[in-house]
């Protein structure tokens, strides 16, 4: 934990803004890109984009408790809204077709595949991403801590989706034993094969979350 604090300038109590992590750098460049919105260059591509968004659709989103009005192309998925416009890159794009679970977020407390959710479908609802589950003062969610304790990841790409699905799995009451956890987590693939650790972590977190 101490290591994370030193390298991650967003950790509470760390004012060293010069310690710009790779992720911070990406956030900064994404924000700059988002400010322009329309691609420059190919005039045909530009015309197509303008026709498509027709000035765009404006909607209000509540993401991790923060309300924001956004104008977007109606085609945008919730996942792309989060990653490309909100700089919330925790939810990952794996298959982009609802098959891998890496993009799992909660809408009104229910886990969904954000890649198969049109952003506009999530307007005016409570969206929670991996960035929104940390407790007061930066305490990790019991599910996050359990993933660390049980070594429930290798490369980590599927982990935000696994954790969001795992939290929902416990809250739904589908974590009563290992078989049930396996069945109700089957929508989250892990190509590193960290499944034994993932199941153990969810079993452990279920006890700490007071259900399952």
């Amino acid at each position: 934990m101490a290591d994370r604090g030193l390298t991650d300038p967003r950790m509470p109590g760390n004012d060293d803004i010069l310690a710009l992590s790779r992720r911070e750098f990406i956030f900064a460049t994404t924000a700059a890109g988002a400010a322009m919105l329309l691609p420059l260059g190919d005039p045909e591509a530009l015309a197509q984009t303008v026709a498509t968004i027709d000035g765009g659709v404006t909607a209000t989103f509540r993401i991790n408790g923060t309300q924001q009005q956004v104008t977007l192309d109606a085609r945008t998925s919730l996942l792309d809204l989060l990653r490309e416009k909100m700089a919330l890159t925790g939810a990952k794009k794996g298959c982009d077709h609802g098959q891998c679970g890496a993009c799992t977020v909660h809408i009104d407390g229910r886990r969904v595949a954000s890649c198969l959710t049109m952003a506009l479908q999530a307007a005016d609802q409570d969206v929670t991403t991996i960035e929104g589950i940390v407790g007061d003062g930066g305490t990790l969610h019991p599910m996050q801590q359990a993933f660390i304790d049980h070594d429930a990841l290798q490369c980590g790409y599927c982990t935000p989706g696994q954790i969001m699905a795992g939290i929902a799995c416990v809250r739904e009451g589908h974590a009563s034993d290992r078989n049930e956890i396996r069945e109700y987590m089957s929508g989250n693939l892990c190509r590193c094969g960290a499944y034994p650790g993932i199941v153990a972590a969810i079993e452990d977190a279920a006890l700490k979350m007071g259900r399952g």
């Binding site: 679970g101 886990r111 969904v112 506009l120």
Partner: protein
């Protein structure tokens, strides 16, 4: 993905009105797990998307009545799977729902949308350079001479052998459900057995729904056959996969003999497939493993294998046989 305009509606009447105003290029959007997926693949190219998720009147689940279970078209798969009455008295329906997809998708997908789920045929989803009569009518069918391990053995035609991929509709077929729709020409009710269509010469036509029609409810008559029932699903892996073969079996047992039997199979045919002859072979008999096997084989009568899917004839028969024994154990 093609551009489209987007409208949210609050009533079924408004949805139909929006469709009528927009024309044939419009699509209703419910959970989006099929439509949005197919838009990304450039298979669905709606010019106008009508988001019906705000129609609260279509979201209800009513299982307490004396005559029927009533599910609003926007009831979500995960919620219906866990309804206490459905779980206890209609396990075939609950199992068909929780054994489908993943919990994320079941939280999103509506029952109405699930009925309209389109095939997972890889040639259909891939498109060029592969021919597909569903995707591009008249272009041919790459599956007929292709990798057909997962394709249909029953109900196929020279134009298409794509499997109907859903599970719930197979259970609904065994339960004699009906589908209520509304549309530009008013309301009507379609028996589930007449809802899905075999491909014949027009594989692009998959259901008896007319343009602009919107599913409003699915109704299941309450019946004693629900309790001794199961949806048995055999996949390449234990969970989160489409059926290689599945069976919805409902039995009513009286004095140790079968009074009523319902058999429908999934994953093997171009639409949810009812096996009336096989049902008749059970009626009046004591259920034994040997009889279940015989009935399983009868269910697969008329199966036409292709190049790589012959094994699924026996798999289908055994799936039915096992399902009969599971259902019998619940009587």
């Amino acid at each position: 993905m093609r551009s489209f305009s987007y409208t949210k509606v609050k009533t079924a009447a408004d949805a139909v009105q929006a469709y009528t105003g927009a024309g044939a290029g419009a699509r209703y959007l419910a959970g989006g797990t099929t439509l949005y997926d197919l838009m990304k693949l450039d298979i669905e190219k709606p010019e106008h998307v009508i988001d019906i998720n705000g129609i609260t009147e279509l979201g209800s689940i009513s299982t307490g009545g004396s005559k029927e279970l009533v599910f609003g078209a926007l009831a979500r798969m995960a919620d219906v799977a866990e309804d206490p009455v459905v779980r206890a008295q209609y396990p075939v329906l609950s199992e068909s729902l929780w054994r489908a997809a993943s919990q994320q998708l079941r939280n999103m997908a509506s029952l109405g949308g699930n009925l309209l789920q389109r095939t997972r045929c890889a040639y259909f989803r891939h498109g060029e350079p592969y021919a597909c009569n569903k995707r591009n009518p008249g272009s041919g069918c790459a599956a007929l001479e292709g990798l057909d391990r997962g394709h249909a053995l029953l109900g196929g035609s020279d134009s298409c052998i794509a499997v109907y991929p859903g599970d719930m509709a197979v259970a609904l077929l065994a339960l004699d459900a009906v589908v209520d729709v509304t549309g530009p020409s008013g309301d009507r009710t379609i028996p589930i057995a007449k809802f899905h269509q075999t491909p014949e010469a027009s594989p692009e036509v998959e259901t008896s729904m007319q343009a602009g029609e919107l599913i409003t409810a699915i109704r299941v008559p309450k019946s004693r056959v629900g309790r001794a029932s199961t949806y048995h699903k055999i996949r390449d892996r234990e969970s989160y996969a489409f059926a290689l073969a599945s069976a919805a079996i409902c039995l009513e047992i009286q004095d140790d003999r079968v009074r009523t039997a319902r058999i429908a199979i999934g994953g093997l045919a171009t639409k949810p497939w009812r096996a009336i002859d096989a049902e008749q072979a059970l009626v009046g008999k004591r259920v034994t493993a040997a009889l279940a096997q015989k009935v399983g084989m009868l269910t697969m009568n008329g199966a036409k294998p292709g190049r790589h899917n012959t094994f699924r004839i026996e798999l289908g028969a055994r799936t039915v046989a096992d399902a009969i024994m599971i259902a019998r154990s619940r009587a």
